[in-house]
Each structure stands twice: as structure tokens, then as C-alpha cells.
């Protein structure tokens, strides 16, 4: 159990990290975003609820580290038409909490996000619960795990080709 002081220091560091991640995503700074991941990072956007088994059932995204890199390379190619032109994005991150769950050396963090996307198709509002496991690597926070549970992930959803 962290003391109140160290807990608030950690929360401030975590909050700064999440805001930075949000800005890099909104501004399509793909390479800088990729550097936020640890070498064993897992990026998961489940479908059909929050509790499916991603090893057995279909997820919208279930990327290991090499697939995260592939996703970034596709975005960087300049020929990924769904993001050419890029969506205009702004997201709000809130309800940031340090979670008690056991995460080994990692720090369990949760937040809510609301994302406004303006693309060629239309303007789309996305909302999600985000569960993270963060880790200090050489003194810097990194993401080892990010799970994005879209509020509407049981329904038919439009193309989601920006970094959520």
C-alpha cells in the first residue's frame, strides 16, 4: 500500500502519461505513440462485451507487440486510405484511478475516454473504458497492456482505423 503522498505523486505521473498518450493519438504521432509500449505490450479492443476470451473469440483489435508495430507501419505508409486523409480527433480522458488489482510489478490504472472523430464519412462519437498496466522502464512510464472496452462494442460499429 502506497502512502497518500506517494500515491498522489504516482497518480500525477500516471495522469500525465495518459494525457500524453491521448495527445499523441489525437495528433497521429504514430511513432511516438509506439515508443510508449513495452517490448511485451498487448493492445486489446474486445467485441461483444468486456469479458470475452480473446484467445477463443473475435476481438476488434488483439495485437501483440509485433502486430502493434505492423499497425503503426500501415498508418505510416501513406496509402492506408481509411486514414488518408486522417480523421480529425479530440478525446477527453477522465475518471483516472489507480486500481488495487494485483498486477505484479506493473501499475493497474483505469480511465474513461470520450473521443470525437471527424472523418470523410461523418462525425462519430466514441466512448470507452480503458484498462492499463503501466510499468517504469528506465525511469519512464510505459504501457504493457491497454484494453479499450467501447461502450457500444456489442453493436455494429463503423470503421475504427485511428488509434483508440
Amino acid at each position: 500500500m502506497l502512502s497518500r503522498e506517494s500515491s498522489s505523486t504516482l497518480l500525477a505521473a500516471v495522469t500525465a502519461f495518459l494525457y500524453r498518450e491521448a495527445r499523441l493519438q489525437d495528433e497521429h504521432q504514430y511513432e511516438a505513440w509506439e515508443k510508449l509500449w513495452t517490448e511485451d505490450g498487448v493492445y486489446w479492443v474486445p467485441a461483444n462485451g468486456a469479458d470475452i476470451n480473446p484467445e477463443k473469440e473475435m476481438s476488434i483489435i488483439y495485437d501483440n507487440r509485433s502486430r502493434i508495430a505492423l499497425r503503426v507501419r500501415q498508418l505510416m505508409s501513406g496509402k492506408h486510405y481509411t486514414q488518408t486523409p486522417q480523421s480529425n480527433l479530440r478525446r477527453l480522458i477522465s475518471n483516472i484511478e489507480l486500481m488495487d488489482e494485483e498486477a505484479g510489478e506493473d501499475i493497474a490504472v483505469a480511465s474513461n475516454s470520450m473521443i470525437f472523430e471527424s472523418s470523410l464519412r461523418d462525425d462519430t462519437l466514441w466512448a470507452a473504458r480503458n484498462d492499463y498496466r503501466l510499468r517504469f522502464v528506465e525511469g519512464e512510464l510505459r504501457m504493457a497492456y491497454k484494453k479499450v472496452t467501447l461502450v457500444n462494442n456489442s453493436k455494429a460499429i463503423y470503421t475504427l482505423s485511428f488509434l483508440v
Partner: protein
């Protein structure tokens, strides 16, 4: 009669179709009646309701259909609409239930559709309950586990409808050492603001991959692009009845390497290869593993794309959903794991392939709002198409044989007799 013929000549010609076919709400309404509520439509797979009393909610166009397996094991396709005042009797995607109770007035229906009870029955003296069952899809039939429904009481049989394309499903199930497909991985539901026919035509369009998917083929070091190149020996095929195929076997046979179709090899899936040889014998197993699975669009809504299955659902003239899942083959756990991984990367709202395909459907839908030229041109390869040994029309993999076949059948269904 003359007016009708002239009207359709003004909309569909051999090498072009009129842009309004994708955008006119009156055409969409007519399609529901003449295609979706008449011809055979794929609804679901037997493996989605494996146990007695299982159900799963499916659709035929915008209509909600409950696919149930009753206590005795029989499958039913029931319309999700209370026979009383039309409330939906089922509000969950899937589950296990002997009966469905309407929340509005507590009318209760067995999972075979029979009305088994209603609240305060004294108000219904002399009522014939059998006349108040849940409505059923008029005809239901299945082929190798794939269940189709037709809302028309009369018409061609499923076998007649599938015609030559049935053989592609035969080929598909042979990928399993037990000869069965299983649909067990859940569905991604990908919505697009585009007419359903842009999706239908894209499924066997072999002209676009080299361009639309260049971003992923390039960075993933994929060999798929070559299958759709100018020098490819792969074929497009029109099976009639609107069913179309991209036949990649000529390219895979040139490679002559088992499991090359899936970008892998026998060494990496030794358990699967051994089971296939035990099931079919060395020679046949090798042929199956060289040829791979089909890439076939069963009109109007079942697309089998080698490793995954898509189901097209039209909701409105400019609103469509693709339901997609990884194909799973009974008795092939190591293959299935890779199929799920590859499918998740490729398809759905964030898929490396489908995010770009969906972008094209939506841009086409916006593009066709411009009134000139009036036509969408589908003439590629018209002069070089030919008949294969079974009499089906085939062309180069990049030719628009499939689109022409789809529209030919579409006109037959839509044109007043």
C-alpha cells in the same frame, strides 16, 4: 410489360449499371421484396446452436430472426415478433431457453414457435392458439451445416439456388479432417454508410487488392498481392444465380506447397497435416492442402473468404453491416488458432484489410451521388471471358466477370415477370 423492360434496360446493361441502383430508396424497398424476402438467404450455422434449447438471434435484411434448436434437436427459424402486438420476444443475442416470454403482455412461445400460454386466458375463450404461433421463415434448408431461409413459400429449392456454387462449400468443409465447419468464434459487426451492393460486388473483385490493400501488403511483406497481379493465373468465375468466385487454385497449384494458401507449411502445423492425411489419405490430403479454401460469394449475403466468413446485412439504402468471424474447422485446433489470429488482424472495423475496403464502399456511395456519368462501368475483361470445362463463365482474376454475373441475376429477380 414494354415499359418495364425499357425501365430495366435503362438501369442494367451487360457492361454497366445505373448509379441510381445504389442510391434510390424505392429500389432498395423493391430489393427487400424481390431479393431478400424471396430468394434463399444465409441465416446461420448449425454449430451456433449445438445443444438442445440453444438459440441465436440472426437476420434476413432488417428483419430479426431467432434461430433455435428445440428440445428434440430440430432447428427452427422464427421471426422475432410477438403474434399479439409485435413486441420483440427475444432481446438477447444468444442463450439457452425452452421458451420466450414477451415482456409486453406475457405471451409465452415455445422455442419451436408454438404459443403455449398468455396472461389472463379467460379473455380468449375459443381461441385457436395454433393460429397465434410465432411466424416462421417460410422455407428452411441447410447445406453442410449452413442454414438458409427463404421468406417465400414457393420458389427454387436451396439445391437449385446454390447450383454449381455448392461445390465450393464441399471444398470448404474438406479443410476439416472431420469434414465440418464450426462457427464458434463470435462475430465482429462492421457497419458502413454504403449500399449493400458495393460490398457484394467487392467480395469477388480481384482488380482492387493490388491498390486498396497496398499499404498492408507492402509493410507485412505479403505474397497475397501477387495473386491479384497482371501475371496471375487465378480466375474469376460466375456460377450463375448471382454466385461468384475468385479461384486462386491455379496459383496455389503452381506453388505446389501444402498450406501455402494460408502462408504456412506442414512443418508449422504438423498435427493438422497428420490428421488430414489420416482422414483423407496422403494424396487427397495433399491436394486439399495445396488447393486451399474457396473465395466465394454466395448470393446475396454469404461470403466465404478463405479463412473467414462474412454475412452481409442491408439495413437501409445507405446503411449496411458485415458480420464476420473466423472459419473454424472441426478437428483442427492448431489451424483454428492461426485462423482466429489472422482473421482478427485482417477484418472488422479495425482490420488491416477491411478498414480500407469499407473506406472504398463509403467513397463509392458518396461518389455515385454525382449524376454524371450516369453509369458504373463494369466492362473489364468482357472481350476475353470464356467458358470453363463445366460451362461457367471465367475471366482473368482482375476481370469484372463477378459483377456482371451478379447484375445479370439481380435483373432476373427484380424484373417483373
Amino acid at each position: 410489360m414494354n415499359i418495364a423492360i425499357r425501365a430495366w434496360d435503362g438501369l442494367i446493361r451487360r457492361d454497366r449499371v445505373h448509379g441510381s441502383l445504389y442510391t434510390d430508396p424505392a429500389i432498395f424497398a423493391a430489393e427487400l421484396e424481390s431479393i431478400w424476402y424471396r430468394t434463399w438467404v444465409y441465416v446461420g450455422h448449425e454449430s451456433e446452436v449445438p445443444n438442445a434449447n440453444d438459440y441465436v438471434v440472426k437476420s434476413i435484411g432488417p428483419q430479426s430472426i431467432i434461430m433455435t434448436r428445440d428440445e428434440a434437436g430440430k432447428i427452427h427459424l422464427l421471426l422475432n415478433r410477438c403474434s399479439h402486438r409485435a413486441n420483440q420476444v427475444c432481446s438477447f443475442d444468444k442463450g439457452n431457453a425452452r421458451s420466450f416470454t414477451c415482456p409486453f403482455h406475457a405471451w409465452t412461445f415455445a422455442n419451436d414457435g408454438r404459443l403455449v400460454g398468455y396472461a389472463f386466458p379467460d379473455g380468449y375463450e375459443g381461441q385457436d392458439r395454433a393460429a397465434l404461433s410465432l411466424a416462421r421463415v417460410a422455407r428452411m434448408d441447410s447445406y453442410r451445416g449452413f442454414i438458409f431461409g427463404s421468406l417465400a413459400a414457393e420458389g427454387p429449392t436451396l439445391k437449385e439456388h446454390l447450383g454449381g456454387a455448392a461445390e465450393t462449400i464441399d471444398r470448404l468443409v474438406r479443410t476439416s479432417p472431420e469434414g465440418e465447419v464450426e462457427i464458434t468464434a463470435g462475430f465482429l459487426k462492421h457497419r458502413v454508410k454504403a449500399n449493400w451492393k458495393f460490398i457484394l460486388e467487392n467480395e469477388c473483385d480481384g482488380y482492387h487488392p493490388a491498390f486498396v490493400h497496398t499499404s498492408i501488403f507492402g509493410v507485412a511483406d505479403s505474397s497475397i498481392g501477387k495473386l491479384y497481379g497482371g501475371a496471375s493465373t487465378a480466375l474469376t468465375r460466375d456460377y450463375g444465380n448471382g454466385h461468384t468466385e475468385i479461384d486462386l487454385r491455379p496459383e496455389f497449384r503452381k506453388r505446389d506447397e501444402p498450406l501455402s494458401w494460408f502462408g504456412t507449411s506442414e512443418d508449422r502445423l504438423p498435427d493438422y497435416a497428420a490428421r488430414m492425411k489420416a482422414a483423407y489419405g496422403d494424396k487427397t490430403a495433399r491436394e486439399i492442402m495445396v488447393d486451399g479454401t474457396p473465395h466465394v460469394m454466395i448470393f446475396p449475403n454469404l461470403f466465404i473468404a478463405e479463412i473467414q466468413m462474412f454475412v452481409i446485412q442491408p439495413l437501409a439504402v445507405d446503411d449496411s453491416v458485415q458480420h464476420v468471424t473466423a472459419l473454424q474447422f472441426k478437428g483442427a485446433p492448431d489451424l483454428n488458432r492461426r485462423l482466429r489470429q489472422q482473421t482478427m488482424g485482417s477484418v472488422g472495423p479495425a482490420g488491416f484489410l477491411l478498414a480500407d475496403d469499407s473506406e472504398m464502399y463509403e467513397r463509392c456511395h458518396r461518389g455515385v451521388q454525382a449524376r454524371s456519368p450516369e453509369w458504373v462501368y463494369l466492362g473489364r475483361g468482357e472481350k476475353r471471358e470464356r467458358r470453363d470445362e463445366l460451362g461457367f463463365t471465367v475471366g482473368h482474376v482482375t476481370d469484372e466477370v463477378p459483377s456482371r454475373g451478379i447484375w445479370d441475376h439481380y435483373r432476373k429477380l427484380m424484373e417483373p415477370v
